[in-house]
């Protein structure tokens, strides 16, 4: 077959048929959507999905699968779409991915599955993420998936700490193995960053709620408002409450500030606060909801990642006349997804690249009035491989501003580490594990995965870690075997 050749090297003959272009995703008009919190992208219609699916040449050795952290059988599910057997397509995806409606929307596909797709060499890759979303949405629109038959109860009890994508995956996998699973979540709603961080216009909360409901129907017990380390410690869960194993998926939730003057002025927020007020607490609908948020006119968001894009687009939707991204490197170096940067540009976000904030200015009542910045130029590549920004001397200038949102990263929350003395942490406070496959920590019976191990990463990586941890927990329950880091991890 011709695709066989393609996967092995450059194809010689040109395809005869005119190429079908990658199907664009319908989306709300940028001017309209910049003022509402509804979904930006609207999803493929059947017709578009079938056309897009027809572009996939069904490689025998599909490179795309290597690009997916959870190795979804991509040609398999696309084949099912081609055959209009959407139910089967869902089934194929769900064998390895519990949350396709989420990943289809927020995975950085352009760096993962789609980057590896063979079509990408000559033309545009198959829109794998959009197809994944299409089938997941199809499933949602066509009633509930039937509950799988569960094996008899094993009598084993598993505690999952944190209801983010990592924790939810572990819970889903282990309940299907017949264990009792209890998820402890610090907030009053499950979903982690999917609920409090990523905005409604990119990931409707109903999708996350539906997945949580599904797990509940399978028998997973959710204990909300349970901050582990405070209400119960890991030690108590295991020694007093009878849990046979614990998975920690508590995420990287501690916001960084920049340590520049003026950071505690009124009108300066961490992206986490700004997004949590809006997403988790629905402050955009104040006073129908009690949590307030300020509707600022001139807002600067500092940072260049997905979190920064989400914050700046939220500011626009809350009525900002001028919403800026202030980023110290260039557009090329921005860690945010290209799609998000483009969406932000179309909506009217103003980019101040090669600009570093040095001071936040305020008035006598303590409110922000401006942001003093320094222009930067790019030098040699640094440790991260990106060109290092160097300040241009004497280039200070002030932007008039009434709010500054800081989105420069997060680190590990210390609560669990502080209250679990025999849990080994890395120098930067993340939980140390044996390796990414076993997810075993230095404490017997305790596993960890997701952002609390890797630092802020992606939804699919957290889910992949959850899948690995679930397998490792299963093995541990069967064998009771553990490892000893540096010979002294046993407890």
């Amino acid at each position: 077959m011709s695709d066989e050749k393609q996967t092995q090297g450059a194809p010689k003959a040109k395809p005869k048929k005119p190429k079908i272009p990658r199907q664009a995703m319908p989306e709300q008009d940028p001017h309209v959507r910049a003022k509402n919190f509804d979904s930006v992208t609207l999803g493929y219609a059947d017709e578009q999905a079938l056309t897009e699916a027809s572009r996939c040449i069904q490689c025998k050795k599909p490179l795309c699968v290597q690009g997916c952290p959870v190795s979804i059988d991509i040609p398999g599910f696309i084949k099912a779409i081609k055959e209009k057997d959407y139910a089967k397509a869902v089934q194929v995806i769900k064998e390895t991915n519990l949350l396709p409606a989420v990943c289809g929307r927020v995975c950085p596909q352009e760096e993962q599955c789609e980057q590896k797709c063979i079509l990408g060499k000559k033309q545009e890759p198959v829109a794998i993420g959009r197809l994944e979303r299409f089938v997941a949405d199809y499933e949602a629109a066509h009633g509930e998936a039937p509950l799988p038959e569960l094996p008899p109860k094993t009598g084993k009890k598993i505690a999952v700490v944190g209801a983010g994508p990592g924790g939810l995956t572990v819970a889903g996998d282990l309940i299907r193995k017949g264990h009792d699973v209890t998820v402890f979540e610090a907030l009053h709603k499950a979903g982690g960053v999917l609920i409090y961080g990523i905005p409604e216009f990119r990931l409707p909360k109903a999708i996350v709620e539906r997945e949580v409901d599904y797990l509940q129907k399978l028998g997973v017990v959710f204990k909300m408002n349970h901050v582990i380390g405070k209400i119960r410690t890991i030690y108590q869960l295991m020694k007093e409450d009878g849990f046979d194993a614990v998975f920690i998926g508590s995420g990287a939730g501690l916001p960084w500030f920049m340590d520049i003057p003026g950071e505690n002025l009124n009108g300066v927020f961490s992206a986490n606060e700004y997004l949590t007020r809006n997403n988790l607490m629905k402050a955009f609908d104040f006073p129908n909801y009690d949590t307030p948020i300020k509707r600022f006119k001139n807002v600067a968001v500092i940072g260049g990642g997905n979190v920064a894009m989400d914050s700046v687009r939220t500011a626009l939707r809350l009525g900002a006349d001028n919403a800026y991204i202030v980023y110290r490197r260039g557009r090329e170096e921005m860690p945010a997804r290209t799609e998000e940067i483009e969406h932000a540009e179309h909506e009217g976000v103003q980019f101040k690249n090669l600009t570093a904030p040095v001071r936040i200015l305020g008035n006598e009542d303590g409110w922000v009035t401006g942001l003093e910045c320094l222009k930067m130029e790019l030098g040699e590549p640094d440790a991260s491989g990106r060109r290092r920004p160097i300040p241009i001397e004497g280039s200070e200038f002030v932007l008039d501003m009434d709010a500054v949102i800081i989105a420069i990263g997060t680190s590990a929350n210390p609560l669990i580490g502080q209250t679990t003395p025999d849990l080994k942490l890395t120098r930067r406070g993340y939980i140390e594990v044996e390796n990414e496959t076993t997810c075993r920590t230095s404490k017997n019976g305790v596993f960890a995965g997701g952002d609390i191990v890797t630092g802020a990463a992606t939804v699919i990586l957290a889910m992949g870690a959850g899948r690995n941890a679930a397998n490792a927990i299963q093995e541990y329950l069967e064998t009771g075997e553990w490892w000893t880091p540096n010979g002294d991890g046993e407890k």
Partner: protein
């Protein structure tokens, strides 16, 4: 869970002060003096922090005492015995550092007397001599007097209008204890309005008396995730919900903290006006 088992109105006159005993066995079991909860009154409610004023671990209950200063506390005050609070998370924050210091003075101002109560109790149990100073605007606004008597070796009361105890502020009493009575004090713990805490710290600072102040900043999650609760302590930014709520009072930038508490004044007014017009929903 979170059912209200007892309700006591300490003060009818506005701002009303109410105490609830709430069914929350896991929180009661884990609680240590100095910790607080974050609760959500109803479906659309915000997350507000309140100190655990007392607990009964055996019965599985905690007590919270609050002053109706805005929408959320007003809605909370409308609940009755048998109603449920939508969500309660806790215990949060670091427990008070309790050990045998010697003589400990616990200062509570207004509604702050309730949160200082478990600390006084724990300090007494740890073998300290506990003298408490309770401050109120007027005699009928004084709360928790009996409870504080039981939790301390001695209590002293001040009222702004002189209707009970010393005529003056808690700082006057504290100053007199230090400068006139020359009572050797090893530690002061203070909870109350920020302005009062600031002046208590000003009194103790020249005498180098260690002073813990329990801060009440605006909060959202209470788990260290959002940074809404940040304050400057000793020139460094700290998060009250996870690094506190108690800090070395001599290091706290109270001016900044008071300024940050004003952030949502406009919105708070809107919320209260609306609240007065509509009925709150109960769970």
């Amino acid at each position: 869970m979170y059912e209200i088992l007892k309700k006591k109105v300490w003060q009818e006159e506005k701002p009303r002060i109410t105490e609830f005993e709430v069914d929350a066995p896991e929180i009661a079991r884990a609680h240590r003096a100095g910790q607080f909860v974050i609760l959500i009154v109803d479906e659309n409610g915000e997350r507000i922090p309140l100190t655990i004023a007392d607990k009964d671990a055996e019965k599985g209950t905690i007590s919270i005492l609050f002053q109706e200063v805005g929408k959320s506390t007003m809605c909370l005050g409308k609940l009755d015995v048998g109603d449920r609070i939508h969500h309660i998370t806790g215990p949060l924050g670091k427990p008070t550092h309790v050990e045998k210091f010697g003589t400990v003075v616990c200062v509570g101002g207004g509604i702050g007397i309730a949160p200082v109560h478990p600390i006084a109790k724990a300090m007494k149990e740890a073998g300290n001599k506990v003298i408490s100073i309770l401050g109120a605007r007027s005699k009928d606004l004084l709360i928790y007097e009996e409870e504080m008597k039981a939790a301390s070796h001695e209590i002293r009361v001040t009222t702004d209008d002189g209707t009970y105890g010393r005529h003056g502020f808690v700082t006057d009493e504290l100053k007199a204890m230090i400068e006139e009575e020359k009572i050797p004090i090893d530690l002061v713990v203070v909870i109350g309005p920020p302005i009062m805490m600031k002046f208590v710290c000003k009194v103790t600072e020249p005498h180098k008396i260690k002073t813990f102040a329990s801060l009440n900043t605006i909060m959202v999650d209470g788990t260290g995730m959002c940074g809404a609760c940040r304050v400057t302590v000793g020139g460094k930014t700290r998060f009250v919900c996870v690094d506190g709520p108690e800090f070395d009072g001599h290091q706290v930038d109270f001016e900044e903290m008071m300024m940050r508490q004003q952030q949502y004044l406009t919105e708070e007014k809107i919320a209260v006006e609306r609240c007065e017009k509509q009925t709150c929903h109960k769970n």
